[in-house]
Symmetry: C2
């Protein structure tokens, strides 16, 4: 067989490679590349000594079930600990509402599969997280984009879009939203708007899928813990499916995240997960649980917040000094991302080749839009590189931008002459 095209399902035929993962793959091929592409946590902040201690004790053989198949819901002590972790965020949840997932990406995938029929509408922000886009598209959702303003999703546009989709006879599966330090914009939805969002969802009878990987990583100079109170915390209706992760605060290599949802939804996700991967890794879950139980996570969070805040500041200063008026962005109040707007003449999809030639890479804004737009936006992750690499990377990016502006100026001058 040479041509497998006819073998693939319709869903597979339309699956698209992740833009972030594609950019991530460049790392191995371009020497000395500085990557602002993936939302990777900083390696130097991992708790290596504690991980090693915990792994050694977890693997001492005293509990041989550590490496056996485990319950699909998750390692029971972790399932029972998560309500306590959630309570600190204002969310009241019982273990019956919890399911551990193999990273947040699996939470998105399973949530998509249990709610989306081919053609169902998922309401998403413009822009929104590209991993959610691909998960929901793989379930054959129609993604309907909703505008943002300075504090996140625009509620008037949300209602307009919802009414339009309902009028067209389509079923709305849910609204997907990242209220805390959104990926890719870094925006924080105000508490008042969260309340109105819940009221809207009740009025229109729409489920909300709330994705919160970054809530614990607020920056003290711009936000407080109280500002990150999840929508789920005020969900008296059982209308919010909440998901969060240990990937950004412990380490992503462990692949441990979770969902908190009304019991019938959690039960359905459990059944979907049985067929998806049976259970999340037993060693990973126990290490994450012990890291939490021994207080390692709580002790480290202030340092994590400080380090990421510092990295953000380094990137902001470097951008201001290297590109000045050529770049602007909403100030991130937490999280990993800076959402940069370059001059109109710069198309960030086209700029990538030039950036890579300068040994720097980012994710073009187009990857986060479900309406097919391209433009002058770029997501720059400041989380993983060191301060000096951030500075060097922004110097390289600035060189690429100036080169691109020179080239577009030359092209436009040439076309003026021709005209």
């Amino acid at each position: 067989m040479n041509d497998y095209t006819g073998c693939f399902s319709r869903a597979a035929s339309t699956m698209q490679e992740s833009a972030i993962r594609k950019m991530g793959g460049l790392g191995g091929r371009v020497p000395d590349l500085i990557s602002f592409a993936p939302g990777f946590p900083a390696l130097e902040l991992f708790a290596w000594d504690e991980f090693r201690d915990v792994a050694t004790s977890v693997l001492d053989g005293a509990d041989p079930t550590v490496l056996q198949y485990g319950p699909t819901r998750g390692y029971r002590p972790l399932v029972e600990a998560l309500p306590e972790i959630l309570a600190a965020r204002g969310i009241a949840a019982t273990p019956e509402e919890i399911i551990v997932t193999t990273g947040s990406q699996q939470a998105l995938d399973l949530t998509g599969r249990i709610f989306i029929d081919p053609g169902s509408v998922v309401l998403v922000e413009l822009p929104t997280y590209t991993g959610a886009i691909t998960a929901f598209r793989n379930a054959q959702a129609t993604l309907a984009g909703v505008r943002q303003d300075a504090d996140g999703i625009d509620l008037d546009d949300l209602d307009r879009v919802a009414v339009r989709e309902l009028a067209a006879g389509r079923r709305i599966a849910f609204l997907y939203v990242v209220p805390n330090f959104q990926n890719p914009t870094g925006l924080l939805i105000s508490l008042e708007k969260r309340q109105r969002l819940l009221e809207w969802a009740a009025r229109r009878n729409v489920l909300i899928v709330e994705d919160d990987p970054y809530g614990a990583l607020y920056f003290d100079d711009a936000a407080a813990a109280g500002d990150t109170r999840p929508i789920k915390a005020d969900d008296r209706d059982g209308r919010v499916v909440y998901m969060s992760s240990f990937s950004k605060t412990v380490a992503p290599g462990f692949r441990v995240a979770w969902v908190a949802a009304p019991p019938p939804i959690a039960a359905k996700i459990e059944i979907a997960k049985q067929a998806a991967d049976l259970c999340t890794g037993g060693l990973d879950q126990r290490i994450v649980y012990e890291v939490w139980k021994r207080g390692v996570l709580a002790r480290r969070l202030p340092a994590l917040r400080r380090e990421y805040q510092d990295k953000r500041r380094v990137m902001e200063r470097a951008l201001a000094s290297e590109l000045g008026d050529l770049v602007s962005w909403p100030a991130p109040k937490g999280g990993f991302f800076l959402w940069a707007t370059l001059p109109d003449r710069v198309n960030t999809d086209a700029l990538i080749a030039r950036a890579v030639a300068h040994r720097v890479v980012y994710v073009a804004g187009s990857a986060f839009y479900v309406d097919g737009r391209t433009g002058s936006l770029a997501r720059l992750s400041f989380s993983a590189p060191s301060a000096s690499r951030i500075e060097e990377g922004i110097r390289r990016l600035a060189a690429a931008v100036r080169e691109e502006l020179g080239a577009t100026a030359a092209v436009s001058a040439a076309s003026s002459r021709r005209a």
Copy 2:
């Protein structure tokens, strides 16, 4: 919201809980239960000392990428080692044909998603692995059952079923088959039949999905390594998607399995996996890789084969001595399962309650049939319990069977009297 029924997708509405997982869940609730239900490897055979040594060295901080997000294809040294592991099985594969998955269940799920459209036919054996049934059903496949004879799938019936499905205008996505020590029957497909299966697939232009978790666990008293040569080894056509796992030979808690498939198929699975869970756990993959590289796996395999062979013998003797003519089974030549036939009057679905009352459990044969049949078949896993627990469990099972036979005799005597 009280009723979420209307929120779920059609796929979710038809998702069924795994019978094996349901039986597995009994363990925590019934004290002193002996479970022959799940296909769990034996905990006492795990290489605890080696796992601990490897984990300590992997987490020494020298390679900080250990706990970062990793490539979707898998940890590169593992991806490059797998062709060597496959070569020992007669399969020539390049790294471009390999993708690491989060357990074999994910391999089944992703394979299903890339090939199955709603209503596509998947050809499966009667009986077949229940985890494959649920994965393919979740992709909304129509499962068409094919009879078995003493050396596995019946090729005449296979062709009849395929022709019938094609004549009905349905698309055949693939044939799913477990040639080595099938789950649940323990059957081994003969080498000659494997050749004819490949010829049939070429003639009918059908893909084969070959699932091989147990191939390395043949029993020296009944089979040799050569008897387990995968169908994939002779696949000159690029028609076979092969999957195998470290769950049965290293430990399932690590959640590391893999697929070997023609590059365009492997690439499609990679894209599907990006949206499913981004990547398989980094620590898990490195531990499994080191266990292989240090020769731990190769050194332990002979002992694993011997131990499982011994457990099988213990179960066979216990069955013969406790139930005599009331039970029969095809002799397992490898793997974890014994496929028992009880007297016609015993329905193994109905027997479960009585068995649990006797503190023993198994999986009823009905879980493995896609044609809805129930009957007097049961899958008994001999892999996990100790020899003495196997003996005690079979004593309990025999008591339940005799009790059931007494009850059915009483019922039939009563109904004779009424008649």
